[in-house]
């Protein structure tokens, strides 16, 4: 066991715990987005950042990946951290305003305006789908490809995957995917409400048995992906 101080509280934690696990164990709330119990922590969304250390040596780390150490001093809700989280949520919202999860976060953080060019990206690269596919389904059918502006999540070489179990877990965990939130267009970027998504591929595939209920154009049930076709 190690002893550390979170938000002024001296707490004891198992040495393999992360800051996030410790905080949650003691009932201290840290917001997360790309974190999910049962999946390995990724630390991509940066929303769970906390400030560690003191004075000029303090720095911000993601609590979901940072291991506890003896004597560590953690502030989960410092001014610096809260201000940074607001900008992070604004960045998420600007790229993917159609996500209900993100709109909810915006509402929670009081983000009421978006100062960046609004995009409509289908993915926020939180990696939940990649991890659930590999870690819970054992399929490893999808992964990150490329970097920078070309980053995407796809099957190897964009080909129909032999490994994919068609389980739909990827869509189940996705906070942003087109399927999850296809409501009418929000009045402005900051939405606040989202309508039920409409099934889209049922029209083209009358025999489809979709596990997702409100199925859509995820492509897992399509033999030739449209992109591949051209």
């Amino acid at each position: 066991m190690v002893t550390l101080r979170i938000d002024g509280l001296d707490v004891r934690a198992e040495e393999w715990w992360t800051i996030l696990e410790t905080a949650r164990f003691y009932g201290l709330e840290i917001p997360t987005f790309c974190y999910r119990e049962g999946l390995s922590p990724w630390g991509g969304c940066r929303l769970c950042i906390v400030e560690i250390g003191e004075g000029t040596n303090s720095r911000m780390v993601t609590s979901c990946t940072y291991p506890v150490t003896e004597g560590l001093i953690v502030r989960t809700n410092s001014k610096r951290g809260i201000e940074a989280r607001k900008v992070l949520v604004e960045l998420l919202l600007a790229s993917c305003p159609s996500s209900k999860t993100i709109q909810d976060l915006a509402s929670r953080f009081g983000v009421q305006k978006v100062r960046f060019k609004v995009e409509d990206e289908p993915c926020v690269y939180c990696g939940l789908c990649v991890r659930i596919c590999a870690e819970q389904m054992g399929a490893k059918a999808i992964g990150f490809v490329n970097r920078g502006g070309d980053l995407k999540i796809t099957t190897p070489f964009d080909r129909k995957s032999e490994e994919c179990l068609r389980c739909g877990a990827c869509m189940y965990v996705c906070p942003a995917c087109q399927l999850r939130c296809q409501g009418t267009e929000a009045p402005g970027v900051v939405c606040g409400s989202c309508l039920c998504p409409q099934p889209t591929c049922l029209d083209s595939y009358p025999d489809l048995m979709c596990y997702m209920g409100a199925a859509g154009d995820c492509g897992t049930c399509v033999t030739e992906k449209p992109e591949q076709a051209k």
Partner: protein, 1031 residues
């Protein structure tokens, strides 16, 4: 020679020594050693051809036994490649071509004669330098890591052995415990050269202590900063040195395996490393039981695919493991859990290359170099706007000034230094005010940059600092691995905002948003790439915020780089914004009248400018980078001299507005404001204190440069639109003007108060002030100068005074100037003409006192030398102690500057230099309805700047009076599409007719006669039409 030893493993340290002695003995039989630089830079310049020719020449002359040829790695002085050095004399030949080879062998090698044309010429002294160590570029470096590059063939391990190679390894394996090695490295103070500067010995210590049977060492050669190539050059030029460092590191840490992670787009480095590993294995320097001391160690190459992020150590580890190169959380640090979960120590190429010299020469020796916390040397790749492009190795703590100016030779083409970017895209720009900063890890960080791996990109006045920030941000956006939201989207958003600013879509608040976003990206991102990605943005805002504001508020890019804002460099450089490319093209078509109309769209004084403008446009002309800039001023003069009145057809005067405006001063600022205001329908009266109209155009500029009738013609155009000019009407108080019913006032009273020199004896009767002297002459007063005249100063007033004195009968005129010709503010052609008219110029001299002796003046002077760059971007003159000298003169004219003198009765707020304080955007003064511009605000400047101020004031005053401030007119026929003609080859200006010297001193006849029409057309057709270039 090689084949004899090749299959012989070196089995003991003693054996290594024997081999070294044997190699040195073999070499002693060669009387001459020639090294040809075969680094990538010289290779690109054609060194392979030179090398082949040398081999052939040596063979055919049968010199194999006495001459040894080495094709070496990079020597560092890439600007001068291909480089050939002949030892033992160390004769340095540069820019050698295969054709030179025969002569090099027959003259230099065989006869010992120097081939003058291949020598390096020091641009500072024009001296030819024979020996490599005497060249300033090398002389000021301490090349303890990089020095061997120029002497050894990187493909031969035996070459490395002759320069004491592997002796540090032998020493470590024979006499030192791993613990002692780490202690020695710690004591040396060596810090990581990859950028972060972590103490190397401490890092090794962590890894050595970590639990685990299997450990690794890794050489990080994933050099990816734009403009940085020191690691590549080390690997290409001296791979064994890096290997030796790694083996020593492996021994210290307890690792038996090492990796060199090198990017695939460094093919030569990859090949050299592969060969070095192979040779080291053959020699028993890698593998089992190295040097018979029981230590096993081997190295493998791991190839990177060129992702910038893989330079980050945890991403690098993932990449070697075969994963996608994505950084992960530290802790755990690689020293505990690194490659495949084993304790791993990662150091950069240059760090490893430092290790052997620390071991062999000792930590004490090593730590003598450097600063308190940053020991040793650092290799920088000096690139960008710098004369001596290349790799330089200097002690840490050297100043940027030493690197950029002493070693780098300063900025090409006399441009002003702007900033230097250290640390590549992860660093920041460092401005001229910090040139004396001693470079170490901490000082750079405090300045908002980082050491980084050692890229140093020099930027001059033609670099747009916003565009540079945008460039780096775009680079990092492409290179972000995409894991962290803050980095992936944050950098993308910064890139978008910066792109908007550079393309004229910047908004109020953008700078603050950039700062906020940059801080979050820096604070919340996992790895070094993202944490430092904000540096280019934050540093450029910190030091060049005014440039951001210019882009956003005024849609102006002073460097002329942002193509949306700056149509062409010439127009961008013109204070009045004249559409230069368009009128030049019209002149080229022989349509001089239409060209004049284009000029007239922006200025009411085309002829005055054509005769006298200091032509900021020509300094930026793109043709100047090919051969010679266009003679834009003379072309404008041709258009103005051929005025057929076409432009008047579309010139409009609006109906009376019922408003009255007073303009104080009839100089270019006042008359321009008056002209445009009158055209807008206002009733304008100009009050001029002197009896003549034109301000400095009439009183300051001598008649031989601007004939009176040329000026008068343009003044007539101004009165023609209804401007009333009252001469000999001094305005003492602005209250009087409001009492007379004027609704607005423009103050353009100029700057004609001469500055004193501040030396003894300057108040004597024979000591005149430049501007007063010129005014007296221009007013036709009787002015007497003696036969011997001294003019102090280096501006246009000084040149005018000197040439006027010549015309008044002085036969010996001496200009005394405290800097050199390069720093002289006077126009180039004025200096040329002054020299042609027999004016003597003493550069680097300054008067310190004047004594009157029997009606003559004895001027005591001192010689000066140039010190560091001051805030104005020019070198500061410093007196050379004990260098005083005295010269006799009859008259001394002090022309060292003027300042504005605004009457107290105006009750205007003034700045420190005595100029009127105005809002830079509107030229409004502290009094309502009163505007000011020209020299009265800025201090002495040029006619074209005064015209620009007059235009700006006219816009503001019209708006103040209820108008829309629209002063631009379409005077020329609509713009036509111009076909682009690409001209190959060099072509220079046609000659300009000048008045013969003999006739010049008879009076004040015009000296420069201008182009005739045919020459004007010929000259205009040299325009490259770079404004049509697709960006």
């Amino acid at each position: 020679m090689l084949s004899k030893v090749m299959m012989h493993r070196i089995v003991t340290p003693e054996h290594l020594e024997e081999l070294r002695e044997k190699l040195l003995r073999d070499r002693a039989s060669k009387t001459t050693r020639i090294s040809v630089c075969a680094g990538t830079g010289c290779n690109a310049a054609g060194s392979r051809g030179v090398g082949d020719a040398l081999i052939e020449e040596i063979r055919t002359r049968g010199l194999d036994t006495s001459v040894e040829l080495k094709e070496t790695g990079c020597h560092g002085f890439c600007e001068q490649g291909p480089i050939v050095v002949i030892r033992p004399q160390a004769i340095f030949y540069r820019q050698v071509k295969p054709e030179d080879v025969t002569e090099i062998i027959s003259e230099t090698v065989l006869k010992g004669n120097i081939i003058e044309r291949l020598l390096y010429v020091d641009p500072a002294t024009n001296e030819k330098i024979v020996r490599e160590p005497d060249i300033p570029f090398y002389k000021r470096q301490s090349r303890i890591v990089f020095g061997d590059n120029g002497e050894i063939d990187p493909a031969e391990v035996s070459d490395y052995i002759t320069v004491n190679g592997y002796s540090a390894l032998a020493q470590v394996l024979s006499h030192m415990s791993p613990h002692e090695v780490i202690a020695e490295i710690k004591r040396s103070g060596l810090r990581g050269r990859g950028g972060a500067g972590f103490p190397v010995g401490t890092k090794w210590g962590f890894c050595a202590k970590a639990k685990g049977e299997v450990k690794y060492v890794i050489c990080n050669a994933d050099e990816g900063d734009p403009g940085a190539y020191m690691d590549r050059s080390l690997l290409e030029g001296n791979p064994h040195r890096v290997l030796e460092g790694m083996i020593i590191g492996g021994y210290a840490i307890g690792a038996s395996k090492g990796f060199i992670y090198v990017r695939d787009e460094y093919p030569l480095a990859v090949e050299r490393c592969r060969l070095a590993i192979q040779r080291a294995r053959e020699y028993g320097l890698l593998g089992d039981d190295i040097l018979g001391r029981g230590f096993n160690f081997d190295v493998e190459l791991a190839m990177g695919a060129g992702a910038f992020v893989c330079g980050e150590e945890t991403a690098l580890l993932a990449s070697i493991e075969g994963q996608r190169g994505v950084p992960r959380q530290r802790p755990p640090f690689p020293a505990e859990r690194g490659l495949w979960g084993r304790p791993t120590n990662i150091n950069n190429v240059e760090t490893w290359a430092n290790v052997p010299v620390i071991v062999s020469r000792g930590a004490d020796w090593y730590s003598e170099t450097g600063t308190a916390n940053s020991k040793g040397t650092k290799i920088f790749s000096l690139v960008g706007k710098i004369n001596n492009t290349g790799l330089v190795e200097v002690p840490l703590g050297a100043t940027l000034r030493e690197i950029v100016f002493d070693i780098g030779g300063g900025i090409p083409r006399g441009r002003k230094f702007r900033a230097v970017q250290t640390g590549g895209p992860s660093g920041g720009c460092i401005p001229a005010s910090l040139l004396d900063l001693p470079i170490d890890y901490e000082s750079l960080q405090e300045a908002g940059s980082i050491m980084g791996s050692g890229g140093m990109i020099v930027m001059d006045e033609d670099t747009c600092m916003v565009d540079i920030a945008r460039y780096y941000t775009a680079f990092l956006h492409d290179e972000s691995c995409g894991k962290c939201l803050s980095c992936r989207k944050g950098i993308q958003r910064m890139d978008e905002i910066l792109t908007d600013i550079t393309e004229g879509r910047g908004k109020e608040g953008d700078i603050e948003l950039l700062e906020e976003l940059a801080t979050v990206v820096k604070d919340t991102t996992l790895c070094g790439l993202g944490q430092t990605a904000s540096n280019p943005v934050l540093a450029s805002i910190r030091y060049f915020r005014d440039e951001y504001e210019e882009h956003i508020k005024r849609h102006y890019c002073r460097a002329g780089v942002c193509r949306t804002l700056a149509k062409s460099p010439c127009q961008n450089a013109c204070p009045a914004g004249i559409d230069v490319p368009r009128y030049i093209w019209l002149i080229g078509q022989g349509r001089l009248d239409e060209a004049l109309a284009v000029v007239r769209e922006k200025v009411p004084f085309p002829a005055v400018l054509g005769y006298t403008c200091p032509h900021f446009c020509e300094a930026k002309c793109r043709r100047g980078q090919v051969d010679e800039p266009l003679a834009i001023r003379l072309l404008k003069r041709s258009a103005a001299d051929n005025d057929n009145g076409l432009w008047r057809a579309n010139s409009r005067v609006l109906p009376p507005s019922g408003k009255k405006v007073a303009v104080v001063g009839s100089g270019p600022a006042g008359l321009t404001a008056a002209y445009y205001l009158a055209k807008l329908g206002h009733e304008v009266t100009v009050f001029e204190a002197s009896p003549v109209v034109g301000g400095m155009m009439r009183l300051g500029i001598p008649e031989y440069r601007l004939p009176r009738e040329v000026l008068q013609r343009e003044i007539n155009e101004i009165t023609r639109v209804g401007v009333e000019i009252r001469t000999s009407s001094e305005v003492r108080s602005l209250d009087d003007l409001s009492a007379q019913g004027y609704d607005a006032v423009f103050v353009g009273t100029g700057a004609s108060r001469a500055t004193d020199m501040g030396i003894s004896g300057e108040t004597g009767a024979s000591v005149l002030h430049g501007v007063e002297f010129l005014m007296d002459v221009n007013l036709g007063r009787s002015v007497k100068v003696g036969k011997r005249v001294a003019v102090v100063g280096g501006g246009n007033v000084a040149m005018d005074a000197a040439r006027t004195a010549r015309r008044l009968g002085a036969n010996e005129v001496t200009v005394i100037y405290r800097r050199t010709r390069a720093e002289m503010p006077a126009s180039e052609e004025e200096v040329e003409e002054a020299l042609r008219e027999g004016v003597r110029i003493l550069y680097l001299a300054a008067p310190v006192g004047i004594t009157g002796v029997n009606g003559r003046l004895q001027v005591q002077c001192t010689w000066m030398k140039l010190g560091g760059i001051d805030a104005s971007g020019r070198a500061r003159p410093v007196p050379v102690e004990g260098s005083e000298f005295t010269e006799d003169f009859d008259t001394v004219i002090a022309a060292i500057g003027e300042r504005p003198e605004v009457p107290d009765g105006y009750a205007l707020s003034l700045g420190t230099g005595g100029g009127i304080l105005v809002d830079p955007d509107t030229l409004a003064t502290s009094r309502e309805g009163v505007y000011a511009g020209g020299d009265a605000v800025t201090g002495p400047a040029s006619v074209v700047e005064a015209i620009a101020a007059g235009r700006k004031a006219a816009v503001s005053i019209d708006r103040y009076l209820g108008g829309d401030g629209e002063i631009d007119e379409q005077l020329a026929p609509p713009e036509e599409e111009r076909p682009v003609i690409v001209e190959e080859g060099e072509r220079y200006r046609p000659p300009v007719d000048m008045l013969p010297l003999a006739k010049r001193f008879e009076g004040f006849a015009q000296a420069e006669l201008g182009f005739d029409e045919a020459r004007a057309v010929e000259e205009a057709n040299r325009c490259l039409m770079c404004d049509l270039e697709e960006s």
